[in-house]
């Protein structure tokens, strides 16, 4: 299975939508790899640079409520995937984005606000990083010499998709 974790990109706003993750004008690309330069291009947040080092190095995104709202475009998970980001942690997700993540064998993990606040407290630290154990349902946030573990729940189906590496092979075997 994939390993989940690494440097964290903090996006401290609710309702980050699919058009901000990957604008529609790039949906004419035929390969996932071609989406790579356009990650989060239209997202405007204080201190955030879509072309910056933090974006480039990130392996996990942490955000707030209703992440991935809007379009059904799977280009949103794909642009994360081709940039090395395979997990998003948020208070809640839009349904289609969440399912698209799991369908691709990636993780969309919901945490309560109180836990997210503790994770966001690391946002100023250069070494902020997270490791995620899907099978055990725990993630560990580290940075600034501190470390804390949080437990999470994903549905049995979503867990199976992550472990199977996505929905197509799973469905083709079973249906």
């Amino acid at each position: 299975m994939k390993t989940f974790g690494g440097p964290v990109l903090f996006l401290d706003r609710s309702d980050i939508n699919t058009d901000e993750i990957i604008p529609a004008k790039y949906l004419t690309e035929i390969t996932k790899e071609d989406l790579k330069p356009y990650i989060l291009e239209d997202l405007k947040l204080p201190g955030f640079d879509p072309k910056g080092e933090k974006t480039r190095n990130a392996r996990v995104v942490v955000s707030r409520a209703n992440f991935g709202c809007g379009s059904s475009r799977e280009h949103a998970p794909w642009v994360f995937e081709v940039n090395g980001i395979t997990a998003v942690i948020a208070e809640s997700f839009a349904r289609i984005f969440r399912q698209n993540m799991f369908n691709c064998g990636m993780a969309a993990i919901e945490l309560p606000v109180a836990d997210l606040d503790q994770i966001f407290a690391h946002s100023g630290e250069a070494d902020a990083a997270m490791s995620i154990d899907i099978e055990a349902g725990v993630l560990t946030m580290s940075g600034g010499g501190k470390q804390k573990t949080f437990s999470f729940e994903i549905s049995p189906f979503d867990k199976a998709l992550v472990l199977a590496g996505g929905w197509v092979d799973f469905a083709d075997q079973k249906y």
Partner: protein, 427 residues
């Protein structure tokens, strides 16, 4: 205990429950367009599984950028076209016959009460207007739908909206749904079905019901759903007349999909439309709504009438009624995109196209185009559009551009005045 419409559809289509809380459903319609389907097709080829589960249940259209604007969009269209031919997909709509998917497919009678429908497009919820469970999905779900004719869902809870009263002058389905989204928020219905009931809905045409259900996703909803009734039967009659002894028989059959009186809901929300006003968005989220009175005078550069939300004949009639004898204000440009060829033809026959053109509108072919900033009316940085579409995200219709969502009536009044304007004075 009774069941909601979605529960009845889930029970009737259940293949199995591979894990607690996840239901795999048999699909009645898998709809495809050229933006999200080509990557599914490529992936199926790559996996050595270039097959489809059914040549009649899969429908395909080139609609987002059409006719193609460049090599990339031409390639997407070609991949879909070649695939549709290769697999003998019966209902494939190419240039000349194509239109906006969520207007075209219902118009062809493809969506029936009790159906399960998926498409790689978030506004698939539109089709719930027919009493169907219709959900937007990503490319992977679409790929599995194409290959196997199934899709996995969490059993959604249902919010019941009791919408009652007579719509005041100048207030339409678009205003009702913008008001509802404003009330419950952009994630107010996440993992929920929005089931619409009440006298206002009963009085609505199928076109209006489609407008209503179209924007369920803007509140996070999985599907909008209206209750099938005689209006549904009348709309579908040309396609179903050989299947039933008469309209009453069709109604009796379709009524089985109506929610039971003792169905259990996650929440029930009462909406009294008698006090509603024309409603307009002001920010970059569809739940940021104000009345047209509050928004009147806001500056505009472009008026856009079209899309899967409001590009149907009823919408064009309402806008033309207001525009008749008027000109676009000199500071704005107007674009009309009838959503399908049939709508375009009707509008021409009824003289509506003349009214729009005499007012100074550009009339484009049916396409999604400008709604998502792809073609045929993209905004420049800092430009503002009064639009009958469904999404006002920052840059949605062009990088740095702003969108105010509104009804066709409000868009037409705004076209005349060159700024956001109240349609009621023109009615």
């Amino acid at each position: 205990m009774g069941k909601t419409t979605a529960e009845k559809i889930f029970d009737a289509h259940l293949v199995n429950e591979p894990f607690p809380g996840t239901k795999v459903l048999r699909l009645d319609a898998v709809l495809c367009h050229e933006i999200t389907t080509p990557i599914a097709i490529d992936d199926l080829i790559r996996r050595g599984k270039d097959r489809i589960f059914d040549t009649t249940k899969i429908k395909a259209v080139i609609d987002h950028v059409t006719p193609s604007k460049d090599t990339k969009t031409a390639t997407q269209a070609k991949i879909l076209r070649d695939w549709a031919r290769r697999h003998d997909i019966k209902d494939f709509f190419d240039v000349g016959a194509n239109g906006v998917c969520h207007a075209l497919f219902p118009e062809r009678g493809f969506i029936r009460p009790g159906y399960t429908v998926i498409m790689g497009d978030s506004h698939t919820c539109t089709h719930g207007a027919f009493g169907a469970f219709a959900a937007g999905v990503g490319t992977t779900d679409l790929e599995v739908g194409i290959l196997k004719g199934v899709c996995a869902f969490r059993q959604p809870k249902t919010i019941k909206f009791n919408v009652n009263g007579t719509l005041p002058k100048g207030v339409y389905a678009k205003d009702v749904i913008l008001h509802i989204i404003g009330k419950i928020g952009v994630n107010g219905a996440t993992d929920r079905v929005m089931e619409f009931h009440g006298s206002t809905i009963d009085d609505m045409s199928m076109e209006s019901r489609m407008t209503l259900c179209n924007m369920a996703i803007e509140a996070g909803g999985t599907s909008g759903i209206c209750q099938p009734d005689m209006t549904t039967v009348e709309y579908l009659w040309p396609f179903i007349k050989d299947d039933f002894a008469g309209r009453e028989a069709a109604l009796a059959d379709y009524s089985e999909w109506r929610a039971d009186a003792d169905a259990e809901y996650d929440q029930t929300i009462e909406i009294d439309v008698a006090t509603l006003q024309p409603t307009v968005t002001f920010g970059y989220k569809p739940d940021q709504v104000k009345t047209v009175t509050e928004m009147a005078g806001a500056p505009l550069d472009q008026i856009y009438i079209g899309s899967c939300t409001n590009g149907r004949i009823e919408d064009l009639r309402i806008a033309a009624q207001i525009l008749k004898g008027h000109k676009l204000a000199p500071n704005v440009r107007g674009i009309l995109s009838p959503a399908t060829p049939a709508i375009f033809k009707s509008a021409a026959k009824e003289g509506l196209i003349d009214i729009f053109m005499e007012a100074g509108f550009c009339v484009t072919n049916p396409t999604c185009g400008a709604c998502l900033g792809m073609s045929n009316g993209v905004l420049a940085n800092d430009e503002v559009c009064a639009s009958t579409t469904n999404r006002n995200f920052m840059g949605r219709m062009g990088k740095g551009g702003m969108v105010h969502l509104m009804s066709p009536a409000t868009a037409a009044a705004s076209a005349i005045e060159g700024k956001i304007a109240d349609p009621r004075k023109y009615l």
